[in-house]
């Protein structure tokens, strides 16, 4: 009857979102008077999930599972659900979780709700709040089916410590042949991805050309931030599509979003609206972004951003 949570790791290290989904799962388990069981695949220090309310870890160590594989991972979770007799599965909004959840939903005949931003307001009927219309609205959504899958929006619930002793059990599910083979992975190891970033520094057409992106990168480096861009910038080929954030690009749900030279088209604002604090730097005081931002500076990015980068370096040195 426990609540099952799918955790993700990178090179063996559990990701921050894994602790967030564990925190969320604990809140659901409390509502249902049950406990949280986590599934961890080739991760280290899985006992640390106990700090966020996980009572049991199904720990899978298998060298055959090198890459994420949608069918293999869905099958592993299905086996875990059956073993634990779980009715609720919690996962994140990572690219992998979003890939996996609908496939798992069919295996379990489950109702799946993505982009969930709060713990359930009710468990009978099971009701969650999710974003819709690309952050332009929220919806209260009920899940009718017996099995329920909840995709928690990254950075929405946060980390909630809840010291529990996690009992770690080895778990050896059957690994099925999946019909899908990952032949290569191209991942910049030294960069923070937009999905995982706490801070995102984003540039628009106001930067005038790709040769000026050093401004963005320097500021991002000081803040340990991911870099992003507006749609026109990616359409012009100044930056890769993978950096495009907005309604048709990637969603951003960081703690801090800094927009430089971005006017703030409705589609862009929709995509970044889930970020907690927004800062805009733009020469045009009439730019729509000033209506969406928490803090704003009217002025020339080419003068302000290098100064801000220097001052943040000093600040970081003092507060290190």
């Amino acid at each position: 009857m426990s609540v099952l949570v799918y955790t993700e790791s990178d090179k063996g290290q559990l990701k921050k979102i894994s602790f967030e989904v564990a925190s969320y799962a604990k809140a659901v388990a409390d509502l249902m008077n049950t406990t949280v069981t986590a599934v961890a695949i080739n991760a280290q220090n899985v006992e640390s999930l106990g700090n966020y309310g996980v009572s049991k870890v199904l720990n899978i160590t298998n060298d055959a599972i090198k890459n994420f594989n949608v069918n293999t991972h869905a099958s592993i979770l299905e086996q875990a659900v059956k073993q634990e007799n779980a009715t609720v599965v919690i996962l994140s909004s990572s690219a992998d979780s979003r890939y996996l959840a609908p496939v798992l939903a069919v295996k379990l005949e489950a109702g799946y709700v993505s982009n969930v931003v709060e713990k359930p307001s009710n468990i009978s009927p099971f009701t969650v709040k999710r974003t819709a219309f690309t952050n332009k609205a929220f919806s209260q959504t009920e899940i009718n089916n017996g099995h329920k899958i909840i995709g928690v929006s990254n950075n929405s619930y946060g980390l909630v410590e809840n010291t529990t002793t996690a009992q770690v059990e080895a778990f050896s599910p059957n690994i099925e042949d999946s019909g899908i083979t990952v032949t290569s992975v191209d991942k910049a190891s030294n960069q923070v991805s937009i999905a995982d970033a706490e801070v995102v520094v984003s540039g628009g057409r106001g930067l005038k050309g790709p040769e000026n992106w050093g401004l963005i990168e320097d500021l991002a480096e000081v803040l340990g931030a991911a870099t992003a861009c507006s749609k026109p910038v990616s359409d012009l080929g100044w930056r890769p599509h993978s950096e495009h954030v907005g309604q048709t690009g990637k969603p951003v749900a960081s703690n801090l979003y800094i927009a430089i030279g971005i006017s703030g088209a409705i589609q862009h604002l929709a995509g970044i609206n889930a970020s907690k604090v927004k800062v805009v730097i733009n020469t045009d005081p009439e730019a729509p972004f000033f209506k969406a931002a928490d803090y704003g500076i009217v002025g020339d990015a080419f003068e302000i951003v290098p100064k801000l980068t220097e001052k943040l370096k000093e600040f970081k040195a003092q507060n290190a």
Partner: protein, 248 residues
Amino acid sequence: MKILVCISHVPDTTSKINFTDGDTKFDTNGVQFVINPNDEFGLTRAMWFKEKQGASVDVVNVGGPETEPTLRKALAIGADSAIRVNTAATDGYAVAQQLATVVKDGQYDLVIAGRESIDYNGGMVPGMLAALTGASFVTNCVSLEVDGSNATAVREIDGGKETIATSLPLVIGGQKGLVEESDLRIPNMRGIMMARQKPLKVLEPINTSDATAAKSFEKPAPKGAVTLVDADNLDELISLLHNEAKVI
């Protein structure tokens, strides 16, 4: 190769979002509807397979008669025929089951859907459709090549990309990258005229039950006014971000 492109009928990206009937329904009043942008990238890639590899391309939508202009636009862009499953699309699982029937009956080799629709953002129909029909599945797909029954797809992952080797039948959750923005086609007059003659078949739905139900909607709370900081006083910005917002 038989290709089916799934088309969602969604509000234009510039639409103001409002609700009606006691905040239980999306207010379509004054809203312009378009092909879901993620689907349009997929449709355009399908046109490439049609022109270079001789594929046939059908489009499908699950929805009421109001979605037909969107299907006609897909026909004007170059699809061969259209199918509309005559039921309101209220739940992703139910839509996937309707589509699975169309896919099985039509024996499609490749199904291209958008990774998500820009209205309800469920992001579940392509994956469920693949699982229901036993097809392989790649979502967040930014590149797709098909050679005989083998397919190579590139999937965007957090912080990078991965290349996947798989085979038909295949369901794709597409997005920008499948083709470039500049490759998108605006229907010309000849396309629009021809689209009127192309078949648009209306199918009655199979029985399904909704796995989820959106009971009510609300808009985000109005935002407070921006705090403006003078360009010569960046220390103040840093102080605000540190002490007030607590994000650095």
